[in-house]
Symmetry: D2
Subunit: 402 residues, 4 copies
């Protein structure tokens, strides 16, 4: 095992990464730098610094990356209408590249030769962290303790913590039985009873959305304003990207919107059950499709639809910093110039529907052409005959042969 001088650890302040912090020093004899990012997970980060200090860390980074996260990662992804396997809005996937990017930057800044993370060897997150890190610094050393050590249960972790004098806060209520992850876009749940795909999720598992049954009996409408494919205002109020998403999370969460419960295919080869709450993102996707429906050219729309599954898969698998993702992004972004306007959504007890869409200068909807009434010559119905006959020519020749 090559020597490690200094490692930047993605540190949450919880049990796992506190144990890793200690274990890194013991195992590799290296100095540890901690890095904690605020990406909108909604947890208090004030206690992270004193905890790290108590464990002897000298270089401690606690960064607010919320705006960068939504502006440079979430927004570009939503321009693509990205959904993985028909259901999943990629809430965890999209955060990993940013964390790895900052971790690699801190390594450069602090002269560290390694980074470390607390993701397990079974999941997608290890892949996303490491592909991102390698893509940004091909010589970085990556340490993934879960793939190396034998502390493969909560009991062993607790024993190690006690043995090494790591103070662990008792979580209120005894902690969640689920493996959870949160950021400004979503919160996820895995493990526990979810490991049987026939067993329903428990009602009290969900944290960001009320049950649809508990949502208001009155529907609410919300107007979203788009510029070049991105939401810039909610109900007419101009907001930053993070503010938009935070606002939409609150609004949609209150109406019980954005829960999904799926079995997904992990990049490492297995199927796994996951439950996700993406309240704001659910509104964003619905509204983005709707504004595109009046401002985007048909074939541009269809090309985007055909490219999307591949784009979503790239993000799911951890290839954000790969040239093929950048190529697809270039194509997607090139389509968004005219995606400007307002969409009105209606939220009610778990579902969201589009009730209006408008674009002052960029609409391609031409009522004069589309009308069922007399169109005053805007469209010559006789053109359709030639259109059909030439499109049919190959089919007719094909049938004659049979």
């Amino acid at each position: 095992m090559a020597e490690v001088k200094k490692a930047v650890l993605a540190y949450s302040g919880g049990l796992d990464t506190s144990v890793i912090l200690k274990w890194l020093g013991d195992t590799y004899g290296c100095e540890v730098v901690t890095f904690t990012a605020d990406i909108g997970q909604g947890e208090e980060l004030d206690s992270v610094r004193p905890k790290a200090q108590a464990l002897g860390v000298k270089e401690i980074f606690v960064d607010d990356l919320r705006e960068e996260f939504v502006r440079d990662f979430v927004y570009p992804m939503f321009r693509a209408n990205a959904i993985y396997e028909g259901e999943y809005l990629l809430g965890t996937s999209i955060a990993r590249p940013l964390i790895a990017k900052r971790q690699v930057e801190i390594a450069a800044q602090t002269g560290a030769d390694a980074i470390a993370h607390g993701a397990t060897g079974k999941g997608n997150d290890q892949v996303r962290f490491e592909l991102s890190a390698y893509a940004l610094n091909p010589d970085i050393r990556v340490i993934a303790p879960w793939r190396e050590w034998d502390l493969n249960s909560r009991e062993k972790l607790l024993a190690y913590a006690e043995q090494h004098g790591i103070e662990i806060e008792k979580k209120k209520g005894g902690g969640s039985p689920y493996s959870m992850d949160a950021n400004a876009l979503h919160i996820s749940y895995e493990g526990g009873v979810l490991e049987d795909p026939w067993t329903p999720a428990e009602d009290d598992m969900w944290r960001w959305t009320v049950p649809p049954e508990a949502a208001p009996d009155q529907a609410q409408e919300v107007d979203l304003t788009f510029e070049r494919g991105d939401i810039v205002a909610v109900d007419g109020e101009r907001l930053t990207p993070y503010e938009v998403l935070a606002r939409l999370n609150r609004i949609a969460g209150a109406h019980g919107i954005g829960r999904i419960d799926i079995v997904e295919n992990r990049y490492v080869g297995m199927k796994s059950r996951g439950c996700y709450e993406t309240p704001g993102g659910t509104l964003m996707l619905k509204a983005h499709r709707a504004i595109e429906s009046i401002t985007l050219d048909r074939e541009a729309c269809h090309l985007k639809d055909e490219l999307m599954p591949r784009y979503a898969k790239l993000i799911y698998n951890g290839y954000w910093f790969a040239p093929e993702r950048e190529m697809l992004q270039a194509a997607i972004d090139a389509s968004q110039t005219h995606v400007n306007g307002v969409v009105r959504l209606r939220l009610y007890k778990g579902s969201v529907s589009v009730v209006g869409r408008d674009s002052a200068n960029d609409s391609l909807f031409d009522a004069a052409v589309a009308t069922f009434e007399d169109d005053a010559g805007a469209y010559d119905q006789k053109d359709a005959e030639g259109f059909i006959r030439l499109n049919a020519l190959r089919l007719r020749l094909g049938r004659r042969r049979r």
Copy 2:
């Protein structure tokens, strides 16, 4: 204009096709055969035959195609998880090829040299009818009166009807202001106030679903059983394809499920607003994705996802009987061998969610591998390191160059 001896008219018994019936005889001097299909539109067809007789028709076909429609058209399409432009379940599109097919068969049977339909020159349906007809009989003559005559308003049609002694039933309540179409899969609404995409649909427009607000306060669960990708039972009761769809329409409609309101891109080049109710189909799609989530291989799933937009576009544009649709169908069908099992859905006030999925013999979900707990060696976490390192190799070489 080449002579026409006999034409098979797709006849509904309503104003438009009654006028066409008369107009065909007057304009082409041809005999007219009428053909009316029951494809689950839910209208009484008993009066069609006497109406046609009253207009002097000698050869009258009224066919029940409901099972054929669902079994041979709707079901294969749902195996593909087909959605057009992210929203539309292709309810109208999928019915047209069947009608054209039967029309061409009747032409052969009755010695007719032409078929006629009542679709306008602005819409997709003319294309779907005619591409299907030409693909099945390359020498058939197609007559599309709306592209030929000058009866381009309801007033002119009524005048023509009166002038030619065509009796028109007054619709109750004065008729709908919308252009509507229905079959076992859906009912559609276009025109009227919908021609402004900012104007919401009127509450009393919808016919097959209750408003979510009026749906029961109690959620309902329903179990769908799949065999080779097709639903064969509802809540354990074995049903024919049409029975399945009819049952699901009732169940989902009662919970306000399946409404959409979109602007779509027509094949003839314009955007148009459409509202659709597809209650049963909405459940079918959700459940099919869910049963695939545990029984379909990851890459088979992803290939299906990438092919789907093109497949959906082919159906939307009218290419059901085209070799490229048949090629895609062969690929899709080849993936469904193991898509067997049960999905439990939960319906509540306009939305549907998956609460369980199970497959006795075909599940690829392996809890032993996926577990967050000790997996007793089912998966070696160390494998992940090599997996990531080789996937990262090209990215690292790429970065070194920069």
Copy 3:
């Protein structure tokens, strides 16, 4: 028929367009502006102006578009490695958008309300001209005499010419029996004996390449230098885009390189036989793939390969000025930053092969990693085990089920 004031005619000085010139004035009573482009077709254009003057034309445009053609149309297309139906390098297709663009510009400049062209109603060129024109000026009127008049044979054209005092030069040798088209990228042949796909092309048909049998007995090597995917030098000599292509046409033509003989699928629905000489383009494609082979990331390469058929089809069908072509171009161009270096080709009696490729700063070929010899730890063979095992996991789970 709406009135036409002034039409810009794409004028070659030959029989067809001279007749059209006259016919336009007679039929539409409009003034005619002529436009003739030098796009490298290799014909003398000096006589075009006097001919047009002799026919009474007042506004005559003869433009040298050779550099614009190669720089802005041919080069971007070759970045995509575009080939239609596995064989055709799109020589005719890529020239049409430029001609239409200039024609629309001249219309704006001269106050013309229409453009006219001499393409027939059966071919692809009418589509390419008109889609381009409409995309650039949605209100332009297009006149396609071949779809309107009854002069549907050479005899009728000659009679019309004589009758209207149009002087026609006798072509040396009685003219070609083929329908031909040429520009800097290629020359094409259709019609005549080629209308039977079993009949070989005649030896004396080909004009730009010697027969392979007549090529030198000595192979020749040529070095092509690339910058960002474009060729900027030949054998070390820096050249403009048009100069590059002209030089390569001469070199490759002398070695009998670049002939193809195919049956292709036209956009209007029929199959047609075409023979093409694309000597320079054949070298460009081969060399571009070779320089990409050492400088382009694997997945970027594969994404380009998957997008290429669609991109080629768009160009073939006339959609150069469509948003979906621009999206694909954005993706393709985004991949070319590092496509820099030199490729050495070997030309011999009709075939071209790659004998070397090098890139001083942008090669991704890492001999230290790739070597069959000891690689001093550049690559850890043990990584392959985990790589394979995780890629195999889903296949193993799939087989267990069966």
Copy 4:
């Protein structure tokens, strides 16, 4: 390391696999079964059995898989017109799944619990062998000595052989400096001077084809007859699949056809230089495209072209026995029903061209429609106007907006 009882080794009789044979026994204490396949590599296999016996092997399999190889692997692949990265005909890739399949069968038959192969840890072949084996027997143990041992040079292998009494034939002329692989479809060369992509391949490296300069001065024509996409006769003589390929290898090799020299992207992440001779395959691909050009529907052809790169990549990467390959094969095979007829090729000094194609009953080429002469009404040129106008509509609406 779990115990191994018996291993089936893919055995060639050469140095490497003889050492592996011994090493397996020594390292794992297991019995070894040898398996040698004749897949048309053109080597004498008579000496394999005595060699294995001399090394103490009791169960020895030498199987003639030539017909199965061409019929069930090569032919289906050529239906797809498969080319990897624009150049490579997948000669090595397509043989590996068959070898693995037979190896797994022999394991079942002999009660072996492992298979072993002599592929290195850097290449694609290990992946192809192992993915195929795992896909067919998820519980098989795979032993890849090159990834385990430290015999990482020819010298160490020779020393080991001497030390363990393994007799090694001296290759005539001292052996090739290249790493080579051959089967009925191709022979490949890697390593040696090829490890510098600027260095040309040496003239005396190539074994199956004469240099184009040494090919006959007279061109040769050859007729290939297709049934459902497969070649069934050469110059009118009906042959089995293997006989076809062997015959075409001889014919094309004599004309110097089928050499390529490329840098390719390996699945394990690096670029590598490879030279390949695929004489017969080069004819097969050219001819298959030509017969499809007159018998395959346009959109079926284009769909195949778009799916091809992905299909080729699957085979290159070793996913022959994966469900997504089977799905694509189903689509491809569904397109080949009418791919019947004859193609005439012309071979001359390294290049092959198509000079004729004909299909008695399945041609879609309709001279009456395609002709430049009067078509007697087979095609109405006026149809083109409507076709173009409706295809242009979205472009015109798009431009109006700008």
